[in-house]
Amino acid sequence: MRRAVQSLARFSALVAHQSAASSTSAAAVQAAACVGSRRWFATNSHDIFNTHRHEAHNNWDTEFDFTDANYEKVAEIISRYPTNYKASALIPLLDLAQQQNEGWLSLAAMNRVAKILDMAEIRVYEVATFYTMFNRSKIGKYHVMVCGTTPCMLQGAKGIYKALKDHLGIDYGQTTPDGMFTLGEMECMGACVNAPMIAVADYTKGVEGFSYHYYEDLTPQDVISIVDTLKKGGKPKAGSQHRSKAEPAGAVVDGKWVPSKPGADGMTLTGEPPGPYCRNLDEPAPEQAAAPK
C-alpha cells in the first residue's frame, strides 16, 4: 500500500511537470516528487527524471567547456585507454566535468564530453542517467549523502537522517534555500565498521579543491556540528569522529558514543592477548618429544 501511495505521488509530480509550461515550478515539482521522502531505489541523486527538461540555467543555449588546466587532465585521462576505445574515458571525463561545473552535469557538459570522445550524445546521456553519482540538475555546494544500507541503518542511520532533515530543513533530494546543502541517500560506501556514516562531496573549490570525505561513527550531534562547520567554511574532521581508525574503541549506540570497556577478564584487542598461544614451531610438539624413539 505504501508503495502505491509513493508511485501515485511520483506520477502526480510527472504530470505537474508536464503541465508546467516552463520550469519555474521545478522546485515545487521536486518537492512533490519527494513526497513520502522515498523514491524507487536508494540513490544519492536528486534527479527526478531520466529525460532532459529545459530550464533557464540548463538548455541548448547553455555553454560549457573545460578550462585549459582541465584539458590537460582530459588528455591524461584519455591517454589511459587505447585510442580505439576512447569511449572508455567517458565516466572519468563526466566526473571531471561534474567537478568543474559545481557538482552537476548540464546538457552542455555532456555534449562537450560527447564531442571530445567522438560519441553520439545519447550514449553519454545513457551513462549519465544510469549512474546515480552523476547529478543532472543543479545541486548545493555540499552534497551530503547519508548511507542507508543495513549496517548503518542498524547503527542509527535513521537518526542521522532525521537530525540532518530537522537541522537543514530539507528532505532527501532537496537543496537548502541558501544553496549550501543538498541531501541525498546513498547505498553502502564500505565504511560499515564505523557505521553510521555520511559522505560529503565538496563542490565549492572546483576540480583542484574537490573533496569527497567520509564522516564516520556519527551521532546526531556530530552530524549537526559537521554541517555547521562546513557552512562556516571550516574543515570538520574527516573519518571517524570518535576513534583514530577502526580500532575497537567503542561504538555508536542509540545516538551516543559508548567507549568499549575491557571485559571481566581484561580481554581487549588493544592489550596483550591472554592465551593459549600458538606453540613454537621450531620446537617439536610435546607428544612428539615424548614419543618412544
Binding site: 508503495r3 533557464a56 567547456d65 585510442t83 546538457l107 542517467t129
Partner: protein, 720 residues
C-alpha cells in the same frame, strides 16, 4: 566552435589521434562449412557462425522473440528466446548463443515453457492492459506470445509504472508505457538509419527508451521503427486510431516515390489506403522503405483530379470525357504533328509512355521528352544510364565513389545499404556538394575539375584501381546539368582509368531520382533528331503527369493538355485536364534505377471519373484519328515488350552490355566545357518531390518539423 577546435588541438598536441569507433557489422560473414546440430531430435545443418535461434529456425521450430532481429545486432535482453541446451546447467538465450557442432537443443520441454512463462510474467508486470485502445492490437508480438506463454493471473500486486511519451516528430507516435525495452528501435537508429539519437536513459524500473533531449528523429527511414517495434510503443502517428489490422485488405505493389522501386504492401479498407508497409525483397529494399513511401498515402485523398476539365472563360470548367477529347481534337486539328510535344512526368508508368509515344509518332510528332531535362541524352546504350552494379551489388563493393549525388535524399534505402557497406569497412568518397549521408565520406572536390584531378594518377585513383569491386555512382543531378556531356566525359575517363568496369563487374552506376526515368529512357521517350534540332516553339504540349517541367518546355502560347491524378503545377497551367489514376489504383510498370521492371497493382478503385493512363491515351488516339491497336493491358504490355524486350521479364534485372564505353566517346567528342558549379543533387527537399508528396499533409508536417527540429528550445528560453 572556435573553442572546440582549440580543445581538439590541445588533444592532438598530446599525441592523441581520433580513431573510428568499432564498426559492428550486423551480419556474420558467410561461411562455407556447415555444422550439424540437433533440434528436438531433428538433425539440421546450419552455416558456421549461426546462433542457436537460427538453427531452431532452420529446423522449423518457432522461437518466441522480441529483441532479436536478423538485420540488427544481437542484444539478448528480452530473454524470451530461452531454450534448453544439453549439458548446459540453465536455459540459454538462443539468440545470443552461438551454435556449436553436435549441440543438442530442446525447445519444447517443460523447463523451456516454464522459463518463458517466467519471462513473460516479468514483461507483463509493467506492460499496460490497454490492448483495446492500442493500435498494435491484433498484430502485436507481445499479445500473440502471451497467448502461449502468458498466465491468466499475475503475482505482481504493486502499481505499474508510467513513462512519459516522447515526441519523435510527426510520423512516429509513442506510448512509452507500453515499451518492453527490446532496444530494436535504438539499434535500428544506430546501425541502419545512422541517426544515433535513441537510447535507454535511467536504470532499473525507471529505464526508458527515448532521446533524452526532446528531439526529432531526423531520419528518412524513421517509419521503419514502427514495423520493428514488437509492441504498441511506436505506432504510426498519421494512422493512429483509424484501423484494426484484420479489417484491411492487402495488395502487393511497388513504391513510386523514388526510383528505387521499393516493394510495398498497400493496406486498404474500402476506398481508402490505410497504410503502406514494406515487403521483403532482398535484391531491392530488404525490408525497409523510406518515410515518403510509407506516409505520403494521405495525399491520395487530397487535391485529386476526378473529372475532366476544360479551360473556358471562367478558367477550368468541369466537362465530360467526350467534351474534353473534343477540345483536344479541336486544338490538335490546328497544329501540325511536328508542332506538338509530349512531356513525361516523374510518376508516368511505362505502358502509358509507350502508348503516348506511339500516338505522337503516328501524329508525326517526334518531340518526346522527360521533365528531368535530359532531352539530348544519348540513351542508345542502356549501361550508360542504369545502376549497373545492382542494389545488391553494393554489398559486394569494396570502394564507392559518389559523383554529384545525395543518396540519403534520392534513395534513402539505398543509402542505408551503402552505410552498411561503409560500416563493414568499405570506404566511401564523394565528388560534388557535401551532404550529411550518416556515414563518413571522404570529400574529394566539388566540381568537374576535381574529377580531372582524380583521373590524373591521384592517390584515390590508385585505391580505385586496387579495389576488387569499385563502384562509381553518378547522381541524377549530374544528368540534368547543362554541361552534362562534359562532366560525363570526365566521369568516363575516371571509369576507364580506374578500371571500374571489369570482367564480371560493372561498377558504373547512375542513380535516378524519379520512378519513370529509366522506363522513359528504355522506351526511347526522347526527342527525335529533327525535334532536337528544331528551334520552333511547340503549339500543343501534352503533359503526361509532368509537374516539374521547365518553363522552356511549355511555351506560354501553347495549348496544354495535362493528364494526371493530382492538381499541381501541370494541371494549373493546362487547357484540358484528363483525370488519371494514381499508383495505388492501377496496373503500371515501373522500371527502377537498376533497370528492374516491377508492377504496381490496384489496391483501391479509381477516384470519380478518372481512368487508367494507358486507357486515356488509347481513347484519345481514336479521337485524334490515329487509333492505336491496343485494347487491353496485355496488348499494351506486349507493345512494351516489342519496344524493350527486357521489360517483359518482370522483377528481374537484365544486365546491359557495356560496349567498352562507346557512348562516352560520343559525349567526349562534343567538346563541351564543364561549369565550375559544384555537382549537386537535384533533390533538396526529400519530403516533397512529386505531385503526390506535395499534396500530402503529413509530408508538409515533416518539412515543418525539419525546419524547427528542436521543439522544446524556444519555449524554454522564453519561459525563463
Amino acid at each position: 566552435m572556435q573553442r572546440y577546435r582549440g580543445a581538439l588541438a590541445r588533444l592532438q598536441a598530446v599525441g592523441l589521434q581520433s580513431a573510428r569507433g568499432m564498426a559492428a557489422a550486423a551480419q556474420p560473414a558467410p561461411a562455407e562449412d556447415l555444422i550439424e546440430v540437433t533440434v528436438d531430435g531433428q538433425k539440421v545443418s546450419v552455416p558456421k557462425g549461426s546462433n542457436v535461434l537460427q538453427a531452431c529456425d532452420a529446423a522449423g521450430k518457432d522461437i518466441p522473440r522480441f529483441c532479436y532481429h536478423q538485420r540488427l545486432s544481437i542484444a539478448g535482453n528480452c530473454r524470451m528466446c530461452l531454450v534448453e541446451v544439453e549439458k548446459s546447467p540453465k536455459p540459454v538465450a538462443s539468440c545470443a548463443m552461438p551454435a556449436g557442432p553436435g549441440m543438442v537443443i530442446k525447445t519444447d520441454t517443460p523447463l523451456v515453457k516454464k522459463a518463458r512463462e517466467g519471462v513473460m510474467e516479468f514483461l507483463l508486470i509493467n506492460h499496460p492492459l490497454d490492448c483495446p485502445i492500442c493500435d498494435q492490437g491484433g498484430e502485436c508480438d507481445l499479445q500473440d506470445q502471451s497467448m502461449v506463454f502468458g498466465s491468466d493471473r499475475g503475482r505482481f500486486t504493486e502499481v505499474k509504472r508510467a513513462v512519459a511519451d516522447k515526441n519523435l516528430g510527426p510520423l512516429v507516435k509513442t506510448v512509452m508505457t507500453r515499451c518492453i525495452h527490446c532496444t530494436r528501435c535504438i539499434r535500428f537508429a544506430k546501425e541502419i538509419a545512422g541517426t544515433d539519437d535513441l537510447g535507454i536513459t535511467g536504470r532499473g524500473r525507471d529505464a526508458e527508451v527515448g532521446t533524452y533531449v526532446e528531439k526529432l528523429m531526423t531520419s528518412e527511414l524513421s517509419g521503419n521503427v514502427i514495423d520493428l517495434c514488437p509492441v504498441g510503443a511506436l505506432t504510426s502517428k498519421p494512422a493512429a486510431f483509424t484501423y484494426r489490422n484484420w479489417e484491411l485488405k492487402t495488395t502487393e505493389s511497388v513504391d513510386t516515390s523514388d526510383a528505387m522501386g521499393a516493394n510495398i504492401r498497400v493496406d486498404t479498407r474500402g476506398m481508402e489506403v490505410i497504410r503502406v508497409v514494406p515487403r521483403l525483397n532482398e535484391d531491392v529494399n530488404q525490408e525497409w522503405i523510406s518515410d515518403k513511401a510509407r506516409f505520403q498515402y494521405d495525399a491520395l485523398r487530397y487535391q485529386r483530379l476526378n473529372v475532366p476539365l476544360v479551360r473556358g472563360e471562367k478558367g477550368l470548367q468541369q466537362a465530360s470525357w467526350p467534351e474534353a477529347f473534343a477540345a483536344i481534337a479541336r486544338a490538335a486539328s490546328k497544329v501540325q504533328g511536328h508542332e506538338m510535344r509530349a512531356v513525361a512526368g516523374r510518376l508516368a508508368d511505362a505502358e502509358s509512355m509507350v502508348l503516348l509515344k506511339d500516338l505522337m509518332n503516328r501524329l508525326g510528332c517526334g518531340d518526346l521528352r522527360s521533365e528531368a531535362g535530359f532531352a539530348d541524352l544519348d540513351a542508345d546504350t542502356r549501361s550508360s544510364y542504369v545502376f549497373n552494379s545492382t542494389i545488391a551489388g553494393v554489398d559486394q563493393a569494396d570502394a564507392i565513389l559518389l559523383v554529384g549525388c545525395n543518396p540519403r535524399l534520392e534513395a534513402p534505402v539505398l543509402n542505408a545499404r551503402i552505410r552498411a557497406a561503409n560500416l563493414a569497412g568499405v570506404p566511401v568518397a564523394a565528388v560534388g556538394e557535401q551532404y550529411d549521408l550518416t556515414y563518413p565520406v571522404e570529400h574529394l572536390g566539388a566540381n568537374g575539375d576535381a574529377l580531372d584531378k582524380l583521373a590524373k594518377n591521384s592517390d584515390y585513383m590508385k585505391r580505385l584501381k586496387g579495389a576488387q569491386r569499385p563502384m562509381v555512382i553518378v547522381g541524377a543531378g549530374v544528368l540534368q546539368r547543362a554541361d552534362r556531356d562534359a562532366v560525363l566525359a570526365k566521369v568516363a575517363k575516371l571509369v576507364e582509368k580506374g578500371e571500374v568496369v571489369r570482367e564480371g563487374w560493372n561498377g558504373f552506376n547512375v542513380l535516378h531520382d524519379a520512378a519513370s526515368r529509366v522506363a522513359a529512357l528504355d522506351l526511347g521517350f526522347l526527342p527525335s533528331a529533327r525535334a532536337r534540332a528544331s528551334k520552333a516553339a511547340p503549339k500543343l504540349v501534352y503533359l503526361l503527369g509532368a509537374d516539374d517541367y521547365s518553363e522552356a518546355d511549355v511555351p506560354p502560347t501553347a495549348f496544354v493538355v495535362y493528364q494526371g491524378h493530382h492538381g499541381d503545377r501541370g494541371a494549373a497551367r493546362a487547357d484540358v485536364v484528363l483525370p488519371a489514376t494514381a499508383y495505388t489504383e492501377k496496373y503500371g510498370t515501373y522500371v527502377n534505377f537498376e533497370g528492374r521492371p516491377q508492377s504496381t497493382k490496384p489496391a483501391v478503385a479509381s477516384v470519380g471519373d478518372a481512368r487508367d493512363d494507358w486507357k486515356i491515351v488509347r481513347a484519345l488516339s481514336e479521337v485524334l484519328g490515329a487509333p492505336l491497336p491496343y485494347n487491353s493491358l496485355d496488348d499494351a504490355r506486349r507493345r512494351l515488350a516489342d519496344v524493350a524486350p527486357h521489360l517483359a521479364r518482370r522483377d528481374a534485372v537484365e544486365a546491359p552490355l557495356w560496349l567498352a564505353g562507346e557512348q562516352w566517346k560520343a559525349a567526349g567528342d562534343r567538346k563541351a566545357a564543364a561549369d565550375a558549379a559544384p555537382l549537386a543533387s537535384a533533390i533538396a527537399n526529400f519530403y516533397q518531390t512529386d505531385a503526390i508528396s506535395r499534396a500530402s499533409k503529413v509530408m508538409a508536417k515533416c518539412v515543418r518539423a525539419r525546419q524547427n527540429p528542436i521543439p522544446g528550445l524556444h519555449a524554454a528560453s522564453v519561459g525563463n
